[in-house]
């Protein structure tokens, strides 16, 4: 098991529950938490309500807010790691350097920073948003002041009184910009595309509520269910549009107009594509922060970085002391993909360079036996909690394990024809959604416009599809001299 975020921890818990105890959880960093360990920027919080964005098997009655802040989510994952006996399996500071599928012995041969390993099954809990992405402009290295990515926030840099360039207007930037604005002398925001920002209906969850959740767990699961179904209903705004989408746009416009009086700034912040095409952002503080006199919004992409300044698309030079990159991630371009070599002697990254990132049921890839990718291609969501998707995928992995046992087999590999059929249908479904039709360029789609990240429909459909192991899509093998019989 590689990576100890929600996916890794959840998988180990479920494996143990099934009596599989020979599990190692490899973590390159020095603690668990994944995304919720790496992203420590000020204001970092989840934009899905915490009662939904948590494990179904580990409800937490003590969430302090509707939308929990990063430290609380990280603490939750630490707690689950202890309470469910994951800790003994955890090997921190252990980076998976390479993995090669041995097609004779039917196992993965791994090299880690702390020595070699063999694994019958390899599960990636790396997700797709791992490696920070930087803009492809000249001079980034030449900048003389502090510069860092929001996912690698440098807390040693005191922004008080500094001139700060914020590059990017994605989900992270919207959260940290209002915090930066309070401290900095000046903030220059470089906006390539204006995001749609709707109000975040956050609030503190009262002690009384928490006590009630603790005493009556059924109430909490009801709350979770309520959030879940509301969000599934909301999905229709993305997939069908209509009145629901119009209402969302209206809400976002009101949010903008209520906070920004200056018509020029208002125009600059008004998106030119349909709401939902890029991730819909939640904030009550973003627009008010932008209205402050110490914030300048530059509506062009960054063209160049110089030792003491950032040059915008119109050639205007902005002198700054610090650069913060809120430029997102190298989506699905995960280090692991470059390090795993499959049956056909090429890496997962090379495989995906041919086809675009693709998997069967977001989990298995032809040519890569006994490899499971949690939060693999087309499992991300624009409308709900990926923890739900992770748990559905974990169930699928468990079913696959059971099938191996049942057939007395050692290896399973998805058939290419089955994987292709799955993806053709998936892409057909995505074609009519706002993600593909909304007239924007988002990280959801690759350079060819293929949407390789999002699940196109309801999450319960994904759960239904992954509840059962679809053996028809697979080839099962047992190697010479390693056969076990049923």
């Amino acid at each position: 098991m590689v990576g100890s975020g929600f996916a890794g921890i959840g998988t180990v818990v479920n494996l143990k529950k099934q009596g599989v105890d020979d599990v190692v959880l490899l973590e390159r960093a020095d603690s668990v938490g994944g995304t919720w360990r790496d992203n420590t920027y000020p204001g970092c919080a989840c934009d899905v309500p915490s009662h939904l964005y948590s494990f179904s098997f580990a409800p937490n009655p003590d969430w302090s807010h509707v939308f929990s802040r990063q430290p609380e989510i990280r603490a939750y994952l630490e707690r689950v790691t202890d309470e469910f006996g994951v800790r003994p399996h955890l090997h921190t500071g252990t980076d998976l350097l390479s993995g090669t599928w041995d097609d004779d012995a039917l196992l993965w041969r791994l090299e880690t920073s702390r020595g070699p390993l063999t694994a019958d099954l390899l599960v990636s809990g790396c997700g797709g948003l791992v490696e920070p992405a930087y803009p492809d402009v000249p001079g980034i290295e030449s900048f003389q002041g502090p510069a860092f990515h929001s996912a690698r926030w440098d807390h040693d840099v005191d922004l008080t009184g500094k001139r700060v360039a914020v590059i990017g207007t994605g989900a992270s930037a919207v959260q940290f910009l209002p915090e930066v604005q309070k401290q900095a002398a000046k903030v220059v925001l470089f906006q390539r595309t204006a995001p749609w920002v709707v109000p975040r209906h956050d609030r503190v969850i009262s002690d009384a509520e928490r006590a009630l959740f603790r005493r009556v767990p059924a109430l909490q699961s009801a709350a979770r269910g309520g959030i879940y179904w509301l969000r599934e209903l909301n999905l229709l705004a993305f997939t069908r549009g209509g009145r629901l989408r119009a209402a969302a746009e209206k809400q976002a416009r009101k949010n903008l107009e209520g906070a920004i009086a200056d018509p020029a700034l208002r125009a600059a912040l008004t998106p030119d594509y349909t709401i939902g095409c890029k991730r819909v952002l939640l904030s009550n503080t973003y627009y008010p922060a932008l209205a402050q006199p110490n914030v300048e919004v530059v509506t062009s992409a960054v063209a160049e970085v110089r030792p003491h300044s950032v040059v915008d698309g119109d050639g205007v030079e902005h002198e700054v002391d610090v650069i913060v990159y809120g430029t997102g991630f190298r989506v699905m371009d995960i280090p692991l993909a470059h390090r795993l070599t499959g049956r056909e002697q090429h890496t997962l990254a090379q495989e995906w360079a041919k086809t675009g990132a693709e998997a069967h049921r977001g989990t298995t890839v032809a040519g890569f036996p006994n490899l499971f990718l949690l939060l693999g291609p087309n499992t991300a969501l624009g409308h709900s909690s990926v923890v739900f998707m992770i748990e559905a995928q974990i169930a699928y992995v468990m079913q696959a394990l059971a099938a191996l046992d049942r057939y007395g087999a050692r290896a399973l590999e998805v058939r290419r024809a089955a994987q292709d059929a799955y993806n053709v249908e998936l892409q057909t479904q995505l074609d009519t959604t706002v993600w593909n039709q909304g007239g924007c360029r988002a990280w959801y789609r690759d350079v060819n416009g293929k949407n390789f990240t999002l699940w196109p429909t309801h999450t319960f459909t994904f759960r239904r599809q992954t509840a059962r192991f679809d053996g028809d899509a697979y080839e099962l093998r047992s190697a010479a001299a390693t056969k076990e019989y049923v």
Partner: protein
């Protein structure tokens, strides 16, 4: 065989090999109109037809593909009961595409395909084993041989191993058993409730006798849904079913009747001993109603160095339903076996 059937067979002979490939390649409109088939690469199949004489003087129809005299190895494909070499078309193409250095030979058992009819007393698996020995001697007098047998073709290889352990020991580098059995066929229930299966088993000889009589009178044997149910799972690709049934239809009622008895006596687990030194591959669909998956487990158990491959949801015609995958496994087997030959 009546003239009409002869014509039909001739037509099939000309087109079936190609047709099977084309059918597999053809775009399939699934339930949701999804096309998941990849076009087949390469030129249409053109083989070099020849005959091989059996010990009792029958001229078996044999087609060689791929490399000729310079072949690094010869792959011989043996088909199943009531089928013909035409149903190996996909594998023939895939094998020579993957390894143009191979000679790939598909032949028709006596009574099947384009081979002549057999006297009833020679319609046995042992006889098929001796026929196979003749084929090997004729098409591959030298060089390593890889044997691939589906269903009755697999049993034929076991019979060869039983009666010609010397030939197997000297010449055979690898064997693939596809949807076959080493014995216990009398207990198979075809996926039906046991009493129904027993009833069917009792009725079959009489049904066959009636079909033979009808055939003599010039009426064709009925092949339909029941036959399809026996060899394909529900929901199988319709065009594959049609292709297989077309070949079934071309098989005479006489052959169907003649070979029926030989399966009961097939018990050749011990014969697998002669194969313990070669690379072996066992392939099966878990919905195989005629040679159930347990039979493949038994073969694999008797061959400790074998690779067992199971395709969930697939029936008896596993090499058709999982053409791409089975071919890849066969190529892998050939690669492994020849690498070992080279090392030795």
């Amino acid at each position: 065989m009546n003239p009409r059937q002869m014509n039909k067979l001739a037509a099939l002979a000309a087109t079936a090999a190609g047709a099977a490939g084309v059918v597999v390649a053809r775009r399939r409109a699934g339930a949701r109109g999804v096309d998941h088939r990849r076009p087949v690469q390469g030129s249409p199949l053109t083989g070099r037809p020849r005959t091989v004489e059996t010990e009792d003087g029958l001229a078996l129809s044999v087609v060689e593909h791929g490399a000729q005299d310079s072949a690094t190895a010869t792959v011989v494909l043996a088909h199943g009961y009531v089928q013909s070499s035409a149903l190996w078309a996909g594998q023939v193409r895939d094998l020579i595409d993957a390894r143009p250095d191979l000679r790939v030979v598909a032949y028709d058992h006596r009574g099947h395909g384009r081979s002549p009819r057999t006297p009833r007393d020679r319609a046995t698996i042992s006889q098929l084993g001796r026929d196979l020995a003749r084929v090997i001697e004729a098409v591959a007098p030298t060089g390593p041989v890889i044997l691939v047998g589906h269903s009755m073709g697999g049993m034929t290889i076991m019979a060869l191993a039983e009666e010609h352990p010397g030939l197997v020991g000297e010449r055979v580098a690898a064997v693939a058993f596809v949807g076959t059995s080493s014995g216990g066929l009398a207990e198979v229930t075809y996926g039906l409730p046991a009493p129904v299966a027993a009833l069917m088993r009792r009725a079959l000889p009489r049904l066959n006798a009636r079909n033979v009589k009808a055939e003599l009178a010039g009426r064709a044997r009925h092949v339909g849904a029941l036959d399809a149910r026996m060899i394909f799972p529900r929901g199988a690709d319709r065009e594959l079913v049609a292709t297989a049934l077309e070949v079934h239809r071309a098989c005479s009622a006489e052959t169907v009747a003649a070979f029926l008895d030989t399966f009961r006596g097939h018990d050749r687990v011990h014969a697998l001993q002669a194969l313990s030194h070669v690379q072996t591959l066992v392939v099966v669909g878990d919905k195989d109603a005629l040679c159930p998956v347990a039979h493949s487990h038994a073969i694999a158990a008797a061959l400790p160095a074998s690779e067992l491959v199971i395709y969930p949801g697939v029936g008896h015609m596993v090499h058709l339903e999982r053409r791409e995958e089975v071919s890849r496994r066969l190529v892998g087997l050939v690669d492994r076996a020849l690498a070992r030959e080279l090392a030795a």
